[in-house]
């Protein structure tokens, strides 16, 4: 096999997410390279620090079941579509050609816009507008 060691494998090595071949290459590198060993130790510490962050301690969270008025799977228009106000040119083109949200269609998950560059929206549409349910963002043009 002709693979070469890649530094980002060190993180995957820590997480036991490498193939056998990749793991062997990492272990060989670790034997030979003190910098790689030091980096592995640092990565381990970073991982440990994040792991020890406190979990959710807010006892008061209560899901507002009143938000569930109506049936599940209410299929309103555009509820999954990216917001036109934040779509980039490429996103808008993709939307026009029907490719936007293709992955959402495949996975069944509502998508968000995926490009950070905004365009002025000719006609802003509230992403949550659906029947009598009011958007909680209280946008001026909403509901």
């Amino acid at each position: 096999m002709s693979q070469e060691f890649q530094q980002h494998w060190l993180s995957a090595y820590l997480d036991n997410e490498l193939s056998n071949d990749e793991r062997a290459l990492v272990e060989r590198r670790l034997e030979e390279d003190p910098e790689a060993r030091q980096l592995l130790e640092d990565l381990k510490r970073v991982r440990g620090l994040v792991a020890t962050l406190p979990g959710w301690q807010g006892a008061q969270f209560r899901f507002d079941m009143s938000q569930l008025d109506g049936q599940a799977d209410v299929d309103d228009e555009d509820i999954d579509a990216p917001e036109m106000a934040t779509l980039s040119t490429s996103d808008r083109a993709a939307t026009a050609t029907g490719t936007a949200g293709a992955s959402a269609a495949a996975t069944g998950v509502p998508t968000a816009d995926t490009n950070p560059e905004p365009l002025r929206a000719p006609a802003p549409v509230c992403p949550l507008r659906r029947g009598a349910v009011c958007c909680r963002w209280q946008l001026a043009y909403c509901c």
């Binding site: 807010g58 934040t86 996975t107």
Partner: protein, 192 residues
């Protein structure tokens, strides 16, 4: 997929709205945990969780059971989180301000959020995480805080496993760099 989840989902789809409360109860703390660290705000995390559960409910019929319900739920949350961040366009400002506030509070009696009773180290780490861009922040939280494996992260973020690997590594390197700059050698941190 968890059999209990599937049973609850079936009940919801048959019109039993109350069954959804069981799903919410099962996953709300776990979801809120990483959302809190991703948002840096309890209120924002709660709002996002509310919206995530509401949207997931409305779209429940689209859930096909290919991934776990929790992974699917996290994907809904991620889409909302990214959408929200881009709408507000204040991600960097919030991150840096948050970091400065947290760092300045270290060693003082006043904590950033007294209710959370975080240690000084945890405050530093939280503040450093807030400085990462949203993609790196979420990948490191899903892996190192929530405990997802790479496959689950890939499903949640809708990216290839190879991208999870490289993005996670870059996130850890950046976090290491931020912590080293602010506090000196990483070895000074002692994970409690």
């Amino acid at each position: 997929m968890c059999e209990e989840d599937q049973q609850d989902i079936n009940r919801v789809l048959q019109g039993d709205q109350a069954a959804y409360a069981a799903l919410v109860e099962r996953y709300q703390r776990r979801l809120l945990g990483w959302l809190f660290h991703a948002c840096g705000s309890r209120d924002e995390a709660e709002d996002l969780a509310q919206e995530t559960f509401a949207r997931a409910y409305r779209k429940l019929r689209l859930y096909e059971g290919r991934s776990s319900f929790y992974t699917w739920l996290c994907r809904v949350a991620m889409n909302l989180l990214i959408s929200q961040r881009r709408r507000k366009r204040i991600e960097n400002q919030v991150g840096r301000e948050g970091f400065e506030v947290a760092m300045s509070s270290v060693g003082h009696e006043q904590a950033v959020d007294q209710q959370m009773e975080r240690s000084e180290i945890q405050q530093c780490v939280q503040a450093a995480i807030a400085m990462l861009d949203i993609e790196r922040r979420t990948v490191i939280l899903l892996r190192d805080f929530d405990g997802m494996d790479y496959e689950q992260i890939a499903e949640t973020l809708e990216i290839p496993v190879g991208t999870v690997r490289s993005r996670l590594h870059r996130a850890r390197l950046e976090l290491k760099s931020i912590l080293e700059q602010r506090v000196g050698q990483l070895g000074q941190f002692v994970a409690s």
